[in-house]
């Protein structure tokens, strides 16, 4: 655990082209912004607003040894392990989702020590990104103390508060090399509007040295300027914009589509008996064989997509 020096952190930021410029590119081009061994933060949470298309592109590009962090990790974590893209995931909770039980793939990889699941509390993950976003080396907090989670958390320290004498926990800043975040809409410059739950994405964008946005649709800068209060991630943090409809499938994107439940069931089935072979078969069929993202969606199926969309848009019924 090393905290980057403050001046290094600033100089990386200042070396970026932070001008108001068109950053639109393809998934494949955006994947080239991620180098083997990079630390990678993933936006969204569990099965929500997961930047699945970008993860799909990183797996197809054969990236190796990314140190991945996310608030809560679901099926995408299994696939990052099984593809070899990551052997180290930092998060607070890791499984497909409560209704599907404990992830068999996560278990197979971590119990055999082929991969590492580094556990921090949810608030610790949030404050680690926040410290990174604030440009300070740590944040103080009041949980994790006394627990086994603290014993195993590399880099966490306790201190006696200089004002009150209380015991506080200090969690180290996370400044990921790259953050990948999926949003409902943004302009070509990367001004992003996020509907619904923002999870840890705003801090994550501020903390990262590079941000790749995938978006359901690209809107005009004029539309952004009509409601600047709705801009949750500013263009100056963003390095790439990729337009990917259904870019979180089979996870959900707030207000547009809910999780693709039948496909999530299929995934759980495929990985339940023989997690290793099942994950490889899933990767082959849905990650390596498809010609492009549209082909991936076709393989998931039109009926599933329409059902997820019908349920998703229902959030505005009340």
């Amino acid at each position: 655990m090393t905290i980057p020096s403050y001046l290094d952190l600033r100089s990386k930021t200042r070396a970026r082209d932070r001008s108001l410029r068109d950053k639109v590119m393809s998934l494949e081009e955006a994947a080239r912004l991620v180098a083997d061994g990079d630390s990678l933060a993933i936006g969204g949470c569990t099965a929500s607003r997961t930047p699945m298309a970008m993860i799909w592109a990183l797996i197809r590009a054969g990236k190796r040894d990314l140190e991945v962090s996310r608030s809560i990790v679901s099926t995408e974590g299994d696939l990052l392990y099984a593809s070899g893209v990551s052997r180290h995931i930092i998060t607070s909770w890791f499984s497909q989702g409560i209704v599907w039980g404990v992830s068999k793939v996560m278990r197979a990889y971590t119990e055999s020590k082929r991969a590492r699941f580094e556990e921090w509390s949810h608030m610790a993950m949030g404050l680690r990104y926040r410290a990174g976003a604030m440009g300070v080396p740590f944040m103080p907090m009041r949980s994790m103390l006394g627990s086994g989670v603290l014993d195993r958390a590399e880099g966490a320290k306790t201190m006696e508060c200089p004002f009150t004498g209380e015991t506080l926990l200090l969690v180290p800043a996370l400044n990921p090399e790259v953050a990948i975040i999926h949003v409902q809409r943004c302009d070509a410059y990367g001004n992003a509007q996020i509907d619904g739950l923002t999870f840890m994405d705003i801090d994550m964008a501020m903390a990262a040295n590079k941000v790749i946005l995938t978006t359901e649709r690209i809107v005009s800068n004029e539309q952004i300027r009509r409601h600047p209060d709705q801009t949750k991630i500013g263009f100056f943090t963003v390095d790439a914009v990729v337009e990917v409809p259904f870019g979180s499938a089979p996870h959900e994107c707030y207000g547009l589509y809910e999780p693709f439940y039948s496909h999530m069931d299929l995934y759980a089935q495929m990985t339940s008996k023989d997690p290793d072979a099942g994950a490889q078969a899933y990767l082959e069929r849905f990650y390596h064989e498809p010609k492009n993202w549209a082909d991936y969606l076709s393989r998931i199926g039109m009926a599933e997509l329409l059902d997820a969309q019908r349920r998703g848009s229902g959030i505005y019924d009340d």
């Binding site: 929500s48 996560m106 999870f199």
Partner: protein, 265 residues
């Protein structure tokens, strides 16, 4: 909530599952006007049941960043992070902000499920066996550690000997640690275990030793029953009260909420 055992056994008791019993018994512990930080599953069901019965003004918080939602019957969320959690909420915030409400002291009750618990109320959801070489790697804390560190806790879980152990394999979410004042001395001066609701009874913690004790037994459950299903010495007071069985009304609400028995099978 307490009745004579003899009377209960004579009344016509509706049939219910163990999970339904957990949801009803924990819902009754929630009070009108409280702010409850709830996990999905039984805690969510119990919180909604309380909203629909005696606590219409109960405010639910979800760790996904949701303040005060009313979740729709038949559309239970698969986790605390999907759009279904946010229905008719007063406010949506980031995960970090909603967790900081715990730290700031805005939450009356933390409410979650448990996989393994010990006599001092410490919870394990990380490792079965040794953490370095686990038999099973479990999903981990999520917000569990933060909630248990910073709020008064209700835990709902199945009562089995392998789940109620002398010492948990790993402390994911702190209870009273080693008992006495060890929790406070570790830097956790606030919150702590309040009640553990199981399918056999309701458990509390001694004010001094902080060890688990029986507060009430469910209808048809004897002191030897609950002790036989607990992996440590669990004191049962002689005059321990018996809870009132779930009513038809409570069960009807639960079944409307979870028609596919996602969480109540």
């Amino acid at each position: 909530m307490t009745t004579e055992r003899a009377r209960v056994s004579l009344s016509v008791a509706p049939a219910y599952t163990g999970s339904e019993l957990l949801a009803v018994m924990s819902a009754r512990l929630l009070k009108e006007g409280q702010t409850v930080f709830a996990g999905v599953g039984i805690p969510l069901l119990a919180a909604i049941l309380a909203q629909k019965t005696h606590a219409p003004g109960l405010t639910i918080l979800f760790e996904g960043g949701v303040i005060g939602p009313f979740v729709e019957a038949g559309k239970l969320p698969p986790s605390t992070n999907e759009q279904r959690c946010s229905r008719r909420a007063n406010m949506l915030v980031s995960i970090t902000e909603v967790l900081l409400l715990l730290q700031r002291g805005y939450v009356d009750v933390g409410f979650m499920g448990g996989a393994q618990i010990d006599r001092f109320g410490n919870l394990n959801s990380s490792f079965i066996g040794d953490a370095e070489n686990p038999k099973i790697r479990l999903p981990g804390t999520g917000g569990g550690n933060d909630i248990a560190s910073l709020a008064d806790m209700i835990v709902a879980m199945k009562h089995e000997k392998r789940r109620f152990v002398e010492k948990v394999d790993f402390i994911t979410s702190p209870g009273f640690l080693d008992g006495g004042d060890t929790r406070t001395r570790a830097g956790l001066p606030a919150g702590g275990m309040f009640r553990v609701v199981t399918d056999l009874g309701i458990l509390g913690f001694d004010a001094e030793s902080r060890a688990m004790t029986v507060v009430a037994l469910h209808p048809g459950v004897s002191a030897p029953d609950i002790r036989a299903n607990t992996g440590f010495d669990l004191p049962v007071p002689d005059d321990v009260p018996v809870t009132q069985a779930p009513t038809m009304d409570e069960l009807a609400i639960l079944r409307e909420l979870d028609p596919e028995q996602l969480y109540t099978a």
